[in-house]
């Protein structure tokens, strides 16, 4: 055999061709056979026929050959691919290991960026993208009145209206609801030892079946348990079952004592059902009891309404139907003369749970995306710096026969290894963040407790890791691969030629990095200023140095007995050293609320504007002072404000200014909550739900008035001492008066305020952290580029210094250079920020999206950071010793 490899090199220029190889091989066989036959004396033509005859089925053999050949070819290609990949990986680990500084810095940057991205994605996914944890969640609908002016009472419906709608609707499979006015710790669990306060919710009998929630143990409420005089029953929430009953399955069927009533536990709800997470963020619920609707029909609007649409019904159809049905419903079927005046807005449950947060979440997502971009730009920059150093190495590889594609692939492998390492560590970071966030019960965000790193988050991680590696690796890769071999080799990687375009690319990167950081800073600045404005709002009360504790007392249902008991409590609590003042209210601000009518006497419906539903608070003397409210005119409630003939009422300034502008409201008579009352005072407006919404109409009536009934009791004390230190003394007083007083803790009023502003605090905190991260990365980028350019220009600087340039001059030039980059970036970033102002405007509070202070601060910060990060390299440059610099060359 004479091998002729050279010939083979050109034989298959277009790649291997196994089919024609098979044909060639078989043809050779035939020809060799014919030759032999001819030598044996056959005629050439008959020899051919004979050879073909002896061969048999030529085509068949050929097909087998092609099949096997194709298989071999594929396997070979796969093997080459893997061996190339392994080679690339080995090479990558070697090069990265040789440069641990670079590796650690880039993996760290990627870890922070990817970790932040995963965490935010998990939040966005949980709150916005992932469907609610119910079967067919798209069918679930929240129903509330269109224009709620006074809190819950103006969003809810009466039980008769709920039942009426259930009867008339054709588009809803089920209509359900829950009692809207339950506060925390509203039930006493009486067992061994002291009564324990727990939180109960009263829900319509079909509440869980409508949602599609099945108890893990036991069963749902049965119809006979939802009627008058039915057997009292409860369902336990999963965490309560675990905490209180040690997850004992035998509890089902047993009775527990709730507020003195023997109540049968019929079941335990699944762990996945978190009432608070969906219906009242940040609240915990322990037990659920069925609503006895016939008992509640005289209570007015009490039910938060939900429903499940029949399959295939659209929200629009249901809305059209609701628009015709709701105006025909009565508040109370016994009084059809008092119209319900209902309307109804239908909202997808998901939309009503997290719709308000959409804008904030999008902003957050953008912010974290920008962090990712900054990180990529930074990595690109670092890689470019390395590329310059490695140019010679790659030129060498190219000269030895590596294709360009192969070199780019090698680089991309390096990038992929970096970003996957970053992603892995980032996952750890995100996992910690998410676990921490999921346990922040004090943040009033829905669904937060179900936060977790799930499959979608893992997919997203992989996606951003790969996208990032392509993003930051491609530019340096192409640049390297397209470098001119000869120049690079000749230059020894130190010529000026490398500098120009290389440096320009890196400058562009730095400018874009500063621009991104600038957008982030502006956003964070605007949000921060909004938050400060929120904190600055005059709430109408003084949350600091005030604390509340839930009080239980036994008045047997008589208003006349209530007064002396409460008076006794307050007097004795006020005697405790350190307590400045004490008072009792039923509802605390920024907590639960309810509303009644407030109509001035002689108000003419036909001529005058409608009055508004009015937040009502049933309070004792001293409460207004203890919570820190300001009486603008008139006097506080007194213990003797208990006349049967006429009640007294204190109104807020909003009512006074609306009804009696320019007049003295004191002494005016009005119908307040269905009873005639005289206005005895005016208080400054209180932000009753949160600092960001305007105050509505508010009134305060006396606890001792026989006309009114309080909805619970909260004792508020004002003290300069930490409230917890007074707890035992206060509790002792309460126990003396009512031995059944459950053990509960003081809640600082500040906590209620913080809870109300917690979503904003949460977003501000995150965006601020991202802005700082972005700023750090940008600083790192600036430092890297400037410091690198000085290394490259050591020789040039040396010459100039030898020719007489002073250290100051060199420094100034470098700093000016940096400033030029910074100004470019800031200008670009400012333009982007101004253009995207609309995105953020809707989540700002009392702050313009073009707020000059925020922009000014941003510019100052960025310039300062740019100067600081160029100072070190500039100082190094000015210390270059011309002699050494020149000799090194």
């Amino acid at each position: 055999m004479t091998p002729y490899r050279l010939w083979r090199r050109y034989d298959r220029l277009l790649g291997p061709d196994s089919a024609s190889d098979v044909k060639d091989e078989l043809r050779f066989h035939l020809e060799a056979k014919i030759d032999d036959l001819v030598t044996q004396g056959w005629e050439p033509e008959t020899a051919r026929q004979e050879a073909e005859r002896r061969f048999g089925n030529f085509r068949n053999v050929q097909q087998i050959g092609e099949h096997i050949g194709g298989k071999m070819e594929r396997r070979k290609r796969l093997k080459e691919y893997w061996s190339d990949l392994l080679q690339d990986l080995r090479y990558t680990f070697r090069t990265l290991g040789r440069d641990p500084g670079f590796t650690v810095v880039s993996v760290l940057i990627l870890t922070l960026a990817i970790g932040a991205n995963i965490a935010v994605f998990s939040v966005v996914n949980t709150l916005l993208l992932r469907p609610l944890p119910f079967p067919h969640p798209e069918e679930l609908v929240r129903i509330h009145q269109w224009n709620p002016t006074a809190g819950e009472s103006t969003m809810t419906y009466s039980t008769d209206a709920m039942e009426g709608f259930q009867e008339k609707t054709r588009f809803f499979a089920q209509v359900t609801g829950y009692f809207a006015f339950s506060g925390p710790d509203n039930v006493r669990l009486i067992g061994n030892g002291q009564p324990q306060p727990i939180t109960g919710r009263t829900v319509a009998g079909n509440f869980f079946s409508t949602l599609g929630v099945t108890p893990v143990l036991g069963r749902n409420f049965s119809p006979e348990e939802t009627v008058k005089n039915g057997r009292p029953v409860v369902l336990l929430s999963y965490p309560f079952w675990k905490r209180q009953f040690g997850a004992n399955p035998d509890i089902v069927g047993r009775t527990i004592d709730l507020d003195g009533t023997q109540t049968t536990v019929v079941g335990v709800l699944p762990d996945s059902f978190d009432f608070g997470a969906i219906f009242s963020p940040g609240a915990r619920v322990d037990v659920f009891s069925p609503a006895i609707l016939s008992d509640m029909e005289d209570w007015g609007n009490t039910m938060d309404l939900y429903g499940r649409l029949k399959p295939g019904v659209t929200l629009g159809q249901a809305q059209a139907e609701a628009d015709t049905i709701f105006p025909t419903l009565f508040n109370n079927n016994k009084h059809p003369d008092r119209g319900g005046e209902y309307d109804a807005g239908l909202f997808g449950l998901k939309e009503s749970v997290s719709g308000k947060l959409r804008q904030s979440l999008i902003v957050l997502w953008c912010a974290v995306g920008m962090i990712m971009l900054i990180a990529c730009v930074n990595l690109s920059n670092l890689l470019l710096a390395r590329a310059a150093v490695r140019a010679k190495e790659f030129a060498m590889r190219a000269a030895l026969g590596s294709g360009r594609a192969r070199i780019v692939r090698q680089l991309l492998t390096e990038c992929l290894v970096l970003s996957l390492s970053g992603a892995l560590l980032g996952l750890g970071l995100a996992w910690a963040l998410v676990a921490w966030l999921a346990h922040q019960g004090s943040i009033a965000l829905p669904l937060l407790s179900s936060l977790q790193i799930d499959g979608a988050a893992l997919g997203w991680t992989l996606f951003i890791a790969i996208a990032a590696s392509i993003l930051f690796g491609l530019a340096p890769g192409i640049r390297l691969a397209s470098a001119n071999l000869q120049t690079v080799m000749k230059d020894g990687g130190h010529g000026a030629s490398d500098g120009r375009s290389h440096q320009r690319l890196r400058s562009v990167l730095v400018v874009s990095e500063i621009a991104l950081a600038c957008v982030l800073l502006v956003g964070a600045g605007l949000l921060l200023r909004s938050f400060l404005h929120v904190l600055d709002v005059n709430l109408g009360f003084e949350p600091s140095h005030a604390a509340a504790i839930s009080v239980s007392y036994d008045d047997g249902g008589y208003a006349a007995k209530r007064g002396p008991i409460l008076q006794q409590i307050i007097q004795r609590v006020e005697q405790i050293p350190g307590v400045e003042s004490a008072g009792i209210t039923d509802n605390l601000p920024m907590s639960t609320n309810r509303s009644w009518d407030f109509v001035p006497k002689g108000w003419d419906w036909r001529k005058q504007d409608a009055t508004q539903d009015t937040f009502v608070y049933v309070v004792t003397p001293g409460y207004l002072h203890s919570i820190g409210m300001r009486i603008v005119e008139g006097r506080d409630i007194r213990w003797d404000d208990n006349q049967k003939s006429q009640a007294v009422v204190i109104i807020n300034q909003t009512i006074a200014n609306y009804l009696w502008p320019g007049q003295n409201p004191i002494g005016k008579i009005a119908d307040a909550g269905g009873a005639e009352a005289q206005v005895i005072g005016v208080v400054a407006d209180v932000h009753e739900t949160n600092a960001e919404t305007k105050a509505g109409w508010q009134m305060y009536v006396s606890e001792t008035a026989p006309q009114y009934g309080p909805a619970g009791a909260n004792l508020v004390i004002r003290t300069k001492l930490p409230p917890a230190s007074l707890a035992s003394a206060v509790m002792a007083v309460l126990r003396q008066i009512n031995p059944a007083q459950p053990a509960s803790e003081f809640k600082p009023i500040q906590m209620l305020v913080d809870h109300a502003s917690s979503p904003r605090r949460f977003f501000v905190m995150l965006v601020a952290v991202f802005a700082i991260l972005g700023l750090l990365l940008a600083a790192l980028g600036i430092y890297g580029v400037i410091s690198y350019s000085i290394t490259r220009r050591t020789q040039e600087i040396g010459i100039r210094m030898a020719l007489g340039a002073t250290a100051g001059l060199v420094q100034r030039e470098i700093v000016l250079n940096t400033l030029r980059l910074a100004v470019g970036g800031i200008a670009l970033g400012a333009i982007v920020s101004l253009a995207s102002a609309r995105l953020i405007a809707s989540i700002l509070f009392a702050t313009s999206p073009w707020d000059p202070t925020s922009y000014g601060d941003m510019i100052l910060t960025l310039v300062a950071v740019a100067l600081a990060s160029s100072y070190l390299p500039a100082r190094r440059a000015s210390r270059i010793n011309p002699l050494i610099a020149l000799r090194n060359q």
């Binding site: 055999m1 004479t2 091998p3 002729y4 010939w7 083979r8 034989d11 190889d21 060639d24 091989e25 078989l26 050779f28 066989h29 020809e31 060799a32 056979k33 030759d35 032999d36 002896r54 061969f55 048999g56 089925n57 068949n60 053999v61 087998i64 050959g65 096997i68 050949g69 298989k71 071999m72």
Partner: protein
Amino acid sequence: MDSAKLELFRGTLDVLILKALVWGPLHGYGITSLIRRQSDDALLVEEGTLYPALWRLENKGLLKGEWGLSENNRKAKFYRLTAGGRSQLLREVKTWDAYAMAVAKVLGATQPPLPEEG
């Protein structure tokens, strides 16, 4: 004995091919003639089985095919034993010897086996 009727046992062709290549690289036609001449025309390898067997062995990595020029200057595919092919051949020869010996013992027996003990 009619040579054309001497059918190859399954799997025997593989070991014959491996053996044929022990002396050096050969193309497919060379392998058939080598086997034919070495067996004194007793074994005729058909093309329809030879080539698939060659490709299979190549696919298994026991042979390596290379293009070269034949004696009369034609382009031909030569097969060469790989290291794996060589050790495979050793193993197969051993198995074959053991098998042949066992068969020969049975066929050449002149008396029934002794009764087994224990």
